[in-house]
């Protein structure tokens, strides 16, 4: 039951956190959330611990490799995409100091 509670609350956090986002950031954000679901790699780490035969070794290793590609590739591509924006970030960025303030009360 606790897990269901966590699930429902996390779903609401997901809905809320992304409710306002400029179109420019849709692609990097999709890429970043894509990298985050690579966390399923942890499942690979756990199941390979109780793997008992060659087939399970193979399945587990591939799962870990797949999950790691998802994580590493996802975060790196996101960083590359965002690097293109920030390199030429608006020279006058008056809002630069604000996000910290408004992020804290929502967090």
């Amino acid at each position: 039951m606790t897990e269901i509670t966590i699930f429902v609350l996390a779903a609401f956090v997901g809905f809320e956190v992304i409710s306002k986002v400029p179109t420019t950031l849709h692609t990097p954000l999709m890429s970043q959330t894509n990298a985050i679901h690579g966390i399923v790699m942890l499942g690979g780490l756990i199941v390979i611990g109780h793997a008992g035969d060659p087939l399970e070794y193979v399945i587990g290793t591939i799962a870990i490799a797949f999950g790691t590609i998802n994580i590493v590739g996802g975060f790196m591509v996101t960083d590359r995409i965002l690097g293109m924006f920030t390199r030429k970030a608006k020279p006058s960025a008056p809002s630069a100091s604000r996000p910290g303030a408004d992020g804290s009360d929502k967090g």
Partner: protein, 477 residues
Amino acid sequence: MATALSQMPLAVLDPGGAGATALYIVAFSLFILGVRRGTHPTTAKQGNLIAVAGMAIAVATTLLLDGIGNWGLIVGGLAIGAAVGVIASIRVQMTAMPQMVALYNGVGGGAVALIAWSELRHGISLGEAIPLDTLIPVLFSMVIGSVSFWGSNIAFAKLQGLIPTRPLAVPGQQVVNALLLIGIVAACVSLAIDNGDPSQAIFIAALIAAAVLGNLVVLPIGGADMPVVISLLNAFTGIAAAATGFALDNVALIVAGTLVGSSGTILTMKMATAMNRSVANILFAGFGGAPAGAGGVAEERPVTSIGAQDAAIKLAYADSVVIVPGYGLAVAQAQHAIKEVADELEKRGVGVGYAIHPVAGRMPGHMNVLLAEADVPYEQLREMEEINPEMPRTDVAVVVGANDVVNPAAKNDPDSPIAGMPIIEVDEARQVIVIKRSLSPGFAGIDNDLFYEPNTSMLFADAKQAATEIAAEIGQL
């Protein structure tokens, strides 16, 4: 060797214990913070790094859990995965970014399905009935993971041009899909009922059926709708990862997977809304190709065709020019050449702006990324709502490889498949130059009246070549 190494006791954390839980809470808090920062332009890059830190903590915590073993295989899997991920991310062209995300999403889904299989085998090997609160999430994540893996691969293949981007419809497709889905659900139910000794053969059959379903669902979808599909599959993989978390009683997986699932759903709906389509319509209508032949206006209509030199003259003597990029710009890698045209024009004192349609290209923000790569100043990139009111005062609108996003049928023809979709109103500009390889319809598969307007000139050429020639011509004027 693997077994010898597996005896190494790194295990210092009890799964589900206070220490592991506390570290996982730190990890997923960083994910939430990272995604939140990712929604602001000034903090997005920092947000990504925060999420990376969260992931590092989550992975490190898991490696310290009691029961983790087979270190040789773990290190091998991590090393292979990291090497592939690093190399692929460094080498990928910015134009290929959408299919790269599709591929990463696919391997994530693949990992989910494989973990489910392994977990089922583990459950069987224990020789006791598998509790339903483990077995049901296992079956769910197997199905969704398999659909996501194959669906993403098809999306990748379509965007990469390995298979035709036009919708590939099979007769009776909806019926076949429905039967597959019913079969998968029936298989899962029978496995759950027989949880004392679930048949691995049925499980594998369901895994394969889900793979076929993933293929069949995405194959009929046209290339223009792929961003929405990738985003949807991204959300699916997130939910599947959360299900894995339920099966393994791992709170980090539940929170991170759910976070991606729900935020991905919102993102998908935002993308679909920008195209004035519903997600269901995209998935089941097969729109994007069916009306291409039948609905198109077949009659010959006159168009005005011009060369690079004429286009250069029109542009050089204008006061204001708006460039409207589309997927053709990405395909032709024309972003640098277009920037040269803009530079030449600015040297002559012509005001230049870029009008970015929310769904231009293959992903929202695709055009921004490409133009940023060519060093186009951020402030010249204008959003649709911002630039449309200025269109009547614009001397020349240059459409580079865009089609549906400038099709006036969206506002003039209530029967058009794209009716109601917001467009960049280039038809309001005094003159329009369309750089396009042919008159062929866009991904929506419908004719574009804009091409036949008296104030529209068509420049039939590859976008990069045309832009390079125009830049040279302007330089000589």
